[in-house]
Symmetry: C2
Subunit: 200 residues, 2 copies
DNA sequence: CGGACTATAGTCAATATGGACTTTGCTTTA
DNA sequence: TAAAGCAAAGTCCATATTGACTATAGTCCG
């Protein structure tokens, strides 16, 4: 009788889904929307913040509806669209969940596993010249990202979102510059480990 | 007839698995090991680098064996263990894959979605006093992490891994300090947006 | 010695994720 | 104005991930 898994956490608390849930609930504060609309907004942000694919988004919306965080209403063929579309609106419970999640997210240091950490560890076992070559390539990559983030030719955000945009950008830039500094230091460390070959 | 998905990428190239693959192949450079041994090493590192759960590890090892990156041999009951254990050894192909993956990982800027970015964006819509409170909590969290990473009471690493350890640590610390600097700046930004309430 | 407890070494099956596909409506453009 | 092409709005299902379980081997304590 007893199900194997006892419906442990409400889905939105699982670490893997917290970021996405935060994003969806946050966007719904602008007002009710249907799934595809949310999807487009997320994609338009270049998935800069949370990235997820369409099916994941729809599943998440279903779960949030089950948990009462959003209220679903069926909007019959607006503008002559096919059959119906489901429109999602934030509920009071949803707003509470959003705040809880915000607090939890900030309260946990979620170490980041982009593979870079692992790469760093094993790079140390390479011949220093190879490690330096890799680091120089890495620097190009990071510089390209920096240009992107520091907003080459992006239109300035509308004033009501200016604060958010500048906070996010300065955070991202801080991390990028920290990595650049580290790269410089690592290169010189490897360079001193392997004195430059005499120009044979 | 034609399968829906055409065996697209070798599993180890999928972004989600690259970090783990790198970790496993990297560890196997120390010599052949069986699954649980790898598992313990990863856990012992506090999942500091790539974290994965046991079943994921075993699945990955299976895939790597299929792709010829590791050679599996069955070790019959060493020390009277039950039936048999499978021992995984790195192959030449595995070594090549490792290097490719290392280069690919460093060559792509994989933005990190820990939820923090999302939280930052939406924090800006809060009353400044609330945002400041959240940021101060965050500072505690990050400081705790900093203490952990900067190695409170950890035994010094064996000399052959000292370089790796110090590179990894200085990278992690750089990111942490960048976040602390950002927090300080964000707090003062919110503070100036909301002048301190007169002491009623 | 016998039972209680922990570590070893995995497997099972419920959930989550995402590449590819589908279907319907809206614009061109010839 | 008909066919071509593209955007909207999802769904399907193969894979990936992981919480919970199993089962055997040592270890310690009385």
């Amino acid at each position: 009788m007893s199900p194997r898994r006892s419906k442990a956490l409400p889905a939105y608390r699982s670490a893997s889904q917290a970021a996405r849930t935060l994003m969806v609930l946050g966007l719904l504060q602008r007002g009710p929307m249907h799934g595809y609309e949310l999807y487009r907004i997320i994609v338009a942000h270049g998935a800069l913040y949370a990235d997820f694919k369409k099916p994941t988004l729809y599943h998440l919306l279903e779960r949030l509806a089950e948990d009462g965080a959003v209220k679903v209403t069926s909007e019959a063929g607006t503008r002559g669209r096919r059959g119906e579309r489901l429109v999602y609106a934030l509920t009071a419970a949803g707003r509470r969940i959003f705040m809880d999640l915000l607090r939890e997210t900030l309260g946990a240091y979620q170490p980041v596993h982009s593979g870079l950490d692992v790469a760093i560890v094993f790079m140390a076992r390479l011949p220093p010249a190879d490690a330096i070559a890799l680091l120089k390539t890495r620097r190009e990559t990071v510089l390209a990202r920096r240009a992107l983030v520091s907003g080459e030719g992006k239109p300035p955000p509308p004033p009501e979102r200016a604060t958010a945009a500048s906070l996010a950008a300065s955070h991202a830039l801080g991390l990028i510059d920290a990595e650049l500094a580290w790269i410089a230091q690592a290169i010189s460390q490897f360079a001193s480990a392997a004195p430059p070959p005499a120009h044979t």
